[in-house]
Subunit: 202 residues, 3 copies
Amino acid sequence: MSIQYILEIVGTFAFAISGALAMKDQKHQDWFGASFTAFISSIGGGTLRDILLDSYPLVWISDITIIYAIMAGILVTFIFYKFLLNLRKTLFLFDTCGIALFTIVGTEKALNLGVRPEIAAIMGIFSAIMGGVIRDVMTNEIPIIYRKEVYATACFAGACCYLLLDNLGASRNVAFISASLLIIVIRILAVRYEWTVPRFFR
Amino acid sequence: MSIQYILEIVGTFAFAISGALAMKDQKHQDWFGASFTAFISSIGGGTLRDILLDSYPLVWISDITIIYAIMAGILVTFIFYKFLLNLRKTLFLFDTCGIALFTIVGTEKALNLGVRPEIAAIMGIFSAIMGGVIRDVMTNEIPIIYRKEVYATACFAGACCYLLLDNLGASRNVAFISASLLIIVIRILAVRYEWTVPRFFR
Amino acid sequence: MSIQYILEIVGTFAFAISGALAMKDQKHQDWFGASFTAFISSIGGGTLRDILLDSYPLVWISDITIIYAIMAGILVTFIFYKFLLNLRKTLFLFDTCGIALFTIVGTEKALNLGVRPEIAAIMGIFSAIMGGVIRDVMTNEIPIIYRKEVYATACFAGACCYLLLDNLGASRNVAFISASLLIIVIRILAVRYEWTVPRFFR
């Protein structure tokens, strides 16, 4: 079991928690709705990436551990949600680490399947954000990427950083860790100092 | 022509009717919108299942009868909709039989493609509900699974029942019929006695 | 480089512009959101068609020119949007030519993959309209097909015209140009004379 695999399972678990918690303020919420939302949030991005790249079987279909990680996330949310809601900062850090990890894993996977770097960056961003986008579309929210302005943009910067370092011949671990840290740092600074992406229409 | 094939065609026809009728209260509705909605409602769930499982060609692409069953459903809705709207109970029964059938057919198909039972259950539920979810997302409604509380949960119970009986060595017909009946009975009782799934956040 | 290839690139460019401009009236808009929306609008329809038909690799993954055409559309919108908003009639013409082209290219591609004419027509319509539908669903708008009534219907007429001429043994160019013109003419007349598709429920 590689460190990366453990991180991916932890990332899926964290995404399931944030997915289930997203149902908190919905008028209609029950066990099924919360579980479904947690599931979609966790696997949506990677699933879309793999469908676009024709990479089968899908990760969560061939590796049942993913499903159990999601179930654990749902259960933990159910039992500890009052506690979790007081941990907003910790959750934010978990979510940020999750999107950083998913971006780089997604970029790398696409690259290994032989696509061009531009496409690999798109796949990395999709892996990280599309689960949340699908969740928001399903619950009739404005998708996260239109709200939290420096969110997908941080993923974009991280994917570019990874591709650049990879191109410059950096070792895979150096590229992986640097790019992930870049995403985490950008998002923390963005929230701390209320950075926004420039408006498109002035 | 097996009984199951005939049932699937009837199920598709029923889903097309309920899809077209869903446009009744939309501000904007016309022939194209109603047909499109009927089509998406009927084939959405099975299509998503087959894409996730990489099972090609898609059923409605290789078997044109599906398309004609949907067209028939649209035409019947157009001609008889006033009559149909008075038949709410009959329609409810049709829809319930439809989701029961689609759940078990979906579970079985996934199982035959060699996935684990947990994944097969997810695929069964997706087959039954995702057409309605996609329809609701497209028409800006809160998806059905967040509203009708014991809807997807009935499908879940039916899929588990099928997998259990299959595992215990029951004949395929016994498993199929028992699991379908379970879904139908749960949904009828749920509507009759206003059962709800327990809230996730208390 | 065939004329059709150049037209497809121009069509993608035009769709990217109309996708980015669709963010104009959104409360939340920034560089990332506008670029993402332009991207989804341009490639959504063709991507869905290719996934449904299991036709891989996806066009924009194997041909990077598509990505650059989209980027050019985003940049042109950013620089010239005030000018573009005064060009509503020109943009309408561009968009109409875009959907005409995408409909016929999509129908033809499906036909070449060996599906039945009915399915090819559905694929042609999907190629033209689903990018806009996905964009509208993501930005919480009522999808375009429910609003602009003679929009998808024009695509449907064009696809049928192409299939009919093809069946009658017309040369491919004759069928292509006639069917495209039919879509363009229907849409222009529909907007000019406020044609609407008959209501489904009277």
